[in-house]
Point group: C2
Chain length 130, copies 2
DNA sequence: TATAAGATTTATACTAAATCTAAATATAAA
DNA sequence: TTTATATTTAGATTTAGTATAAATCTTATA
Protein backbone atom coordinates (compact mmCIF):
# COMPACT_ATOMS: atom_id res chain seq x y z
CA UNK A 1 0.00 0.00 0.00
CA UNK A 2 1.64 3.15 1.31
CA UNK A 3 0.31 5.46 -1.30
CA UNK A 4 2.64 8.32 -2.15
CA UNK A 5 1.25 11.59 -0.83
CA UNK A 6 2.34 14.26 -3.27
CA UNK A 7 1.42 17.54 -1.63
CA UNK A 8 1.76 20.79 -3.55
CA UNK A 9 5.15 21.44 -1.95
CA UNK A 10 6.47 17.96 -2.67
CA UNK A 11 5.23 18.14 -6.23
CA UNK A 12 6.93 21.48 -6.75
CA UNK A 13 10.19 20.18 -5.29
CA UNK A 14 10.01 17.03 -7.42
CA UNK A 15 9.41 19.06 -10.55
CA UNK A 16 12.23 21.43 -9.68
CA UNK A 17 14.60 18.47 -9.63
CA UNK A 18 13.09 16.92 -12.74
CA UNK A 19 13.38 20.05 -14.83
CA UNK A 20 16.93 20.70 -13.75
CA UNK A 21 19.02 18.17 -15.66
CA UNK A 22 22.09 19.10 -13.66
CA UNK A 23 21.48 17.17 -10.42
CA UNK A 24 20.64 20.20 -8.25
CA UNK A 25 21.48 20.69 -4.60
CA UNK A 26 18.83 21.59 -2.02
CA UNK A 27 19.95 25.22 -2.30
CA UNK A 28 19.56 25.13 -6.07
CA UNK A 29 16.08 23.68 -5.70
CA UNK A 30 15.22 26.53 -3.32
CA UNK A 31 16.56 29.02 -5.83
CA UNK A 32 14.56 27.57 -8.70
CA UNK A 33 11.37 27.58 -6.64
CA UNK A 34 11.97 31.19 -5.65
CA UNK A 35 12.44 32.11 -9.32
CA UNK A 36 9.01 30.64 -9.94
CA UNK A 37 7.50 32.67 -7.12
CA UNK A 38 7.00 29.45 -5.13
CA UNK A 39 8.89 29.88 -1.93
CA UNK A 40 8.70 27.29 0.82
CA UNK A 41 10.38 27.05 4.16
CA UNK A 42 13.91 25.78 4.11
CA UNK A 43 12.86 22.77 6.19
CA UNK A 44 10.04 21.94 3.79
CA UNK A 45 12.45 21.62 0.89
CA UNK A 46 14.67 19.32 2.94
CA UNK A 47 11.68 17.35 4.21
CA UNK A 48 10.34 17.01 0.70
CA UNK A 49 13.67 15.90 -0.74
CA UNK A 50 13.93 13.32 2.01
CA UNK A 51 10.37 12.11 1.51
CA UNK A 52 10.76 11.88 -2.26
CA UNK A 53 14.01 9.99 -1.82
CA UNK A 54 12.41 7.60 0.69
CA UNK A 55 9.52 6.77 -1.60
CA UNK A 56 11.91 6.27 -4.50
CA UNK A 57 11.01 9.20 -6.72
CA UNK A 58 14.44 10.78 -6.26
CA UNK A 59 17.95 9.63 -5.51
CA UNK A 60 20.35 11.47 -3.27
CA UNK A 61 23.90 11.79 -4.62
CA UNK A 62 26.99 12.31 -2.52
CA UNK A 63 29.62 13.29 -5.03
CA UNK A 64 32.24 14.44 -2.56
CA UNK A 65 31.09 18.03 -2.49
CA UNK A 66 29.75 19.70 0.63
CA UNK A 67 26.08 19.46 -0.33
CA UNK A 68 24.08 16.47 -1.54
CA UNK A 69 22.68 16.58 -5.05
CA UNK A 70 19.36 15.13 -6.14
CA UNK A 71 18.62 13.06 -9.20
CA UNK A 72 15.23 12.45 -10.76
CA UNK A 73 16.74 9.51 -12.60
CA UNK A 74 16.34 6.72 -10.08
CA UNK A 75 17.65 3.76 -12.03
CA UNK A 76 21.09 2.59 -11.01
CA UNK A 77 23.78 4.66 -12.67
CA UNK A 78 26.98 6.56 -11.98
CA UNK A 79 28.20 10.12 -12.51
CA UNK A 80 31.02 12.04 -14.06
CA UNK A 81 32.05 15.50 -12.91
CA UNK A 82 33.89 18.05 -15.03
CA UNK A 83 36.86 19.40 -13.10
CA UNK A 84 36.67 22.63 -15.04
CA UNK A 85 33.04 23.70 -15.18
CA UNK A 86 31.62 21.45 -12.47
CA UNK A 87 28.84 19.95 -14.55
CA UNK A 88 27.62 16.51 -13.57
CA UNK A 89 26.69 14.04 -16.29
CA UNK A 90 25.21 10.57 -16.29
CA UNK A 91 27.27 7.43 -16.65
CA UNK A 92 24.88 4.70 -17.68
CA UNK A 93 27.49 2.00 -18.15
CA UNK A 94 27.25 -0.22 -15.06
CA UNK A 95 30.13 -1.39 -12.89
CA UNK A 96 31.52 -4.45 -14.71
CA UNK A 97 30.39 -7.69 -13.07
CA UNK A 98 33.80 -9.30 -13.40
CA UNK A 99 35.32 -6.43 -11.47
CA UNK A 100 32.78 -6.75 -8.68
CA UNK A 101 33.50 -10.48 -8.51
CA UNK A 102 37.24 -9.81 -8.32
CA UNK A 103 36.69 -7.26 -5.54
CA UNK A 104 34.49 -9.68 -3.58
CA UNK A 105 37.17 -12.33 -3.83
CA UNK A 106 39.97 -9.99 -2.80
CA UNK A 107 38.12 -8.37 0.11
CA UNK A 108 35.95 -11.22 1.32
CA UNK A 109 32.91 -8.95 1.22
CA UNK A 110 29.55 -9.64 -0.35
CA UNK A 111 29.08 -6.54 -2.50
CA UNK A 112 25.57 -5.18 -2.80
CA UNK A 113 26.22 -2.01 -4.74
CA UNK A 114 28.82 0.51 -5.80
CA UNK A 115 28.97 4.26 -6.23
CA UNK A 116 31.35 5.57 -8.82
CA UNK A 117 32.31 9.14 -9.52
CA UNK A 118 34.49 9.75 -12.54
CA UNK A 119 36.40 12.98 -12.80
CA UNK A 120 37.60 14.56 -15.97
CA UNK A 121 37.09 17.30 -18.52
CA UNK A 122 33.85 17.54 -20.46
CA UNK A 123 33.65 17.96 -24.24
CA UNK A 124 32.69 21.61 -24.02
CA UNK A 125 35.58 22.53 -21.73
CA UNK A 126 38.01 20.52 -23.88
CA UNK A 127 37.12 22.74 -26.85
CA UNK A 128 37.39 26.06 -25.03
CA UNK A 129 40.97 25.05 -24.29
CA UNK A 130 42.59 27.11 -21.54
CA UNK B 1 62.29 21.98 -3.26
CA UNK B 2 59.42 22.78 -0.89
CA UNK B 3 60.67 20.67 1.91
CA UNK B 4 57.99 19.11 4.05
CA UNK B 5 57.86 20.77 7.46
CA UNK B 6 56.82 18.08 9.92
CA UNK B 7 56.19 19.89 13.17
CA UNK B 8 55.52 17.91 16.33
CA UNK B 9 51.79 18.37 15.87
CA UNK B 10 51.83 17.32 12.23
CA UNK B 11 53.96 14.31 13.03
CA UNK B 12 51.59 13.25 15.79
CA UNK B 13 48.59 13.63 13.51
CA UNK B 14 50.30 11.72 10.72
CA UNK B 15 51.18 8.89 13.07
CA UNK B 16 47.68 8.82 14.49
CA UNK B 17 46.36 8.18 10.98
CA UNK B 18 49.12 5.68 10.17
CA UNK B 19 48.55 3.56 13.24
CA UNK B 20 44.80 3.48 12.75
CA UNK B 21 44.18 1.08 9.87
CA UNK B 22 40.54 2.04 9.76
CA UNK B 23 40.71 5.34 7.84
CA UNK B 24 39.94 7.61 10.80
CA UNK B 25 37.95 10.84 10.75
CA UNK B 26 39.34 14.08 12.18
CA UNK B 27 37.34 13.44 15.34
CA UNK B 28 38.83 9.96 15.65
CA UNK B 29 42.32 11.39 15.23
CA UNK B 30 41.56 13.90 18.00
CA UNK B 31 40.36 11.07 20.20
CA UNK B 32 43.45 8.95 19.62
CA UNK B 33 45.73 11.90 20.36
CA UNK B 34 43.82 12.61 23.55
CA UNK B 35 44.23 8.98 24.59
CA UNK B 36 47.97 9.46 24.21
CA UNK B 37 47.89 12.59 26.33
CA UNK B 38 48.71 14.67 23.26
CA UNK B 39 45.89 17.10 22.86
CA UNK B 40 45.99 19.83 20.23
CA UNK B 41 43.54 22.50 19.24
CA UNK B 42 40.73 21.40 17.02
CA UNK B 43 41.97 23.73 14.30
CA UNK B 44 45.48 22.30 14.51
CA UNK B 45 44.26 18.82 13.74
CA UNK B 46 42.32 20.12 10.77
CA UNK B 47 45.23 22.26 9.64
CA UNK B 48 47.58 19.34 9.96
CA UNK B 49 45.33 16.95 8.08
CA UNK B 50 45.03 19.52 5.32
CA UNK B 51 48.77 20.14 5.23
CA UNK B 52 49.60 16.45 5.18
CA UNK B 53 47.07 15.90 2.43
CA UNK B 54 48.47 18.80 0.41
CA UNK B 55 52.04 17.51 0.59
CA UNK B 56 50.88 14.02 -0.33
CA UNK B 57 51.47 12.15 2.92
CA UNK B 58 47.76 11.54 3.41
CA UNK B 59 44.69 11.20 1.26
CA UNK B 60 41.30 12.58 2.15
CA UNK B 61 38.40 10.21 1.56
CA UNK B 62 34.81 11.27 1.02
CA UNK B 63 32.86 8.08 1.40
CA UNK B 64 29.43 9.66 1.59
CA UNK B 65 29.38 10.01 5.35
CA UNK B 66 29.20 13.36 7.11
CA UNK B 67 32.91 13.54 7.97
CA UNK B 68 35.94 13.03 5.75
CA UNK B 69 38.21 10.10 6.53
CA UNK B 70 41.98 10.10 6.16
CA UNK B 71 44.15 7.45 4.62
CA UNK B 72 47.89 6.96 5.13
CA UNK B 73 47.92 4.81 2.03
CA UNK B 74 48.35 7.35 -0.72
CA UNK B 75 48.64 5.13 -3.76
CA UNK B 76 45.54 5.07 -5.95
CA UNK B 77 42.96 2.66 -4.61
CA UNK B 78 39.28 2.35 -3.77
CA UNK B 79 37.27 1.45 -0.69
CA UNK B 80 34.59 -0.89 0.48
CA UNK B 81 32.29 -0.14 3.39
CA UNK B 82 30.47 -2.74 5.47
CA UNK B 83 26.82 -1.81 5.76
CA UNK B 84 26.58 -3.63 9.05
CA UNK B 85 29.62 -2.70 11.12
CA UNK B 86 30.80 0.33 9.16
CA UNK B 87 34.38 -0.81 8.71
CA UNK B 88 36.22 0.53 5.68
CA UNK B 89 38.59 -1.75 3.79
CA UNK B 90 40.98 -1.27 0.92
CA UNK B 91 40.12 -2.20 -2.65
CA UNK B 92 43.40 -2.43 -4.49
CA UNK B 93 41.97 -3.65 -7.77
CA UNK B 94 41.95 -0.60 -10.08
CA UNK B 95 39.06 0.62 -12.19
CA UNK B 96 39.21 -1.50 -15.37
CA UNK B 97 40.75 0.44 -18.26
CA UNK B 98 38.22 -0.87 -20.75
CA UNK B 99 35.43 0.48 -18.60
CA UNK B 100 37.04 3.90 -18.42
CA UNK B 101 37.45 3.89 -22.19
CA UNK B 102 33.80 2.95 -22.64
CA UNK B 103 32.74 5.75 -20.27
CA UNK B 104 34.90 8.29 -22.11
CA UNK B 105 33.32 7.29 -25.39
CA UNK B 106 29.79 7.40 -24.01
CA UNK B 107 30.14 10.72 -22.18
CA UNK B 108 32.63 12.57 -24.37
CA UNK B 109 34.75 13.34 -21.31
CA UNK B 110 38.47 12.83 -20.90
CA UNK B 111 38.58 10.89 -17.62
CA UNK B 112 41.48 11.63 -15.29
CA UNK B 113 40.46 9.55 -12.29
CA UNK B 114 37.64 7.76 -10.55
CA UNK B 115 36.51 7.26 -6.99
CA UNK B 116 34.69 4.07 -6.21
CA UNK B 117 32.95 3.09 -3.02
CA UNK B 118 31.67 -0.44 -2.84
CA UNK B 119 29.04 -1.32 -0.26
CA UNK B 120 28.41 -4.72 1.16
CA UNK B 121 28.80 -7.02 4.11
CA UNK B 122 32.22 -7.91 5.42
CA UNK B 123 33.37 -11.45 6.18
CA UNK B 124 33.09 -11.00 9.91
CA UNK B 125 29.54 -9.68 9.77
CA UNK B 126 28.55 -12.43 7.34
CA UNK B 127 29.53 -15.04 9.93
CA UNK B 128 27.77 -13.41 12.87
CA UNK B 129 24.59 -13.76 10.81
CA UNK B 130 21.70 -11.69 12.12
C1' DT C 1 -21.80 19.74 9.25
C1' DA C 2 -18.95 19.57 13.22
C1' DT C 3 -15.32 17.69 15.49
C1' DA C 4 -11.45 15.13 16.22
C1' DA C 5 -7.28 12.80 14.51
C1' DG C 6 -3.56 12.75 11.63
C1' DA C 7 -0.28 14.64 8.48
C1' DT C 8 2.27 18.45 6.76
C1' DT C 9 4.32 22.93 6.83
C1' DT C 10 6.64 26.46 9.01
C1' DA C 11 9.83 29.33 11.82
C1' DT C 12 13.19 28.78 14.76
C1' DA C 13 16.64 26.56 17.48
C1' DC C 14 20.13 23.45 17.25
C1' DT C 15 24.01 20.29 15.68
C1' DA C 16 28.13 18.63 13.28
C1' DA C 17 31.93 19.36 10.35
C1' DA C 18 34.93 22.38 8.90
C1' DT C 19 36.90 27.01 8.02
C1' DC C 20 38.26 31.75 9.31
C1' DT C 21 40.38 35.24 12.23
C1' DA C 22 43.55 37.30 14.81
C1' DA C 23 46.42 36.95 18.79
C1' DA C 24 50.04 34.23 20.85
C1' DT C 25 54.12 31.15 20.19
C1' DA C 26 57.61 29.02 18.09
C1' DT C 27 61.21 28.68 14.62
C1' DA C 28 64.51 30.46 11.33
C1' DA C 29 67.23 34.14 9.24
C1' DA C 30 69.95 38.20 9.47
C1' DT D 1 69.69 39.62 19.61
C1' DT D 2 66.35 41.34 16.59
C1' DT D 3 63.39 40.61 12.93
C1' DA D 4 60.74 37.94 9.88
C1' DT D 5 58.15 33.95 8.91
C1' DA D 6 55.52 30.03 10.07
C1' DT D 7 52.58 27.60 13.17
C1' DT D 8 49.40 26.95 16.85
C1' DT D 9 45.59 28.27 19.36
C1' DA D 10 40.87 29.70 21.11
C1' DG D 11 37.01 31.20 19.71
C1' DA D 12 33.83 33.04 16.21
C1' DT D 13 31.75 31.93 11.91
C1' DT D 14 29.94 29.26 8.04
C1' DT D 15 27.49 25.58 5.80
C1' DA D 16 24.47 21.81 5.39
C1' DG D 17 21.27 19.63 7.53
C1' DT D 18 18.18 17.97 11.58
C1' DA D 19 14.95 18.58 15.60
C1' DT D 20 11.13 20.81 17.82
C1' DA D 21 6.85 22.39 18.50
C1' DA D 22 3.22 25.49 17.10
C1' DA D 23 0.20 26.42 13.20
C1' DT D 24 -2.24 24.84 9.28
C1' DC D 25 -4.15 21.69 6.20
C1' DT D 26 -6.48 17.23 5.16
C1' DT D 27 -9.11 13.25 6.15
C1' DA D 28 -12.11 10.39 8.78
C1' DT D 29 -15.99 9.85 11.66
C1' DA D 30 -20.09 10.98 14.56
MN1 LIG E 1 22.17 11.01 -12.57
MN1 LIG F 1 42.55 3.18 1.93
ZN1 LIG G 1 33.27 21.19 -18.28
ZN1 LIG H 1 31.10 -5.71 8.91
Amino acid sequence: MNKINLTAQRKAVLEAVQYDDGHPTAAEVMERLREQGQQFAYATVYNSLKYLTDVGLLRELKLGEAASRYDARVDDHHHIVCKQCGRVDEVLSPTPDEWITAVEKATNYKVSNSHVVFEGVCGTCAQHKV
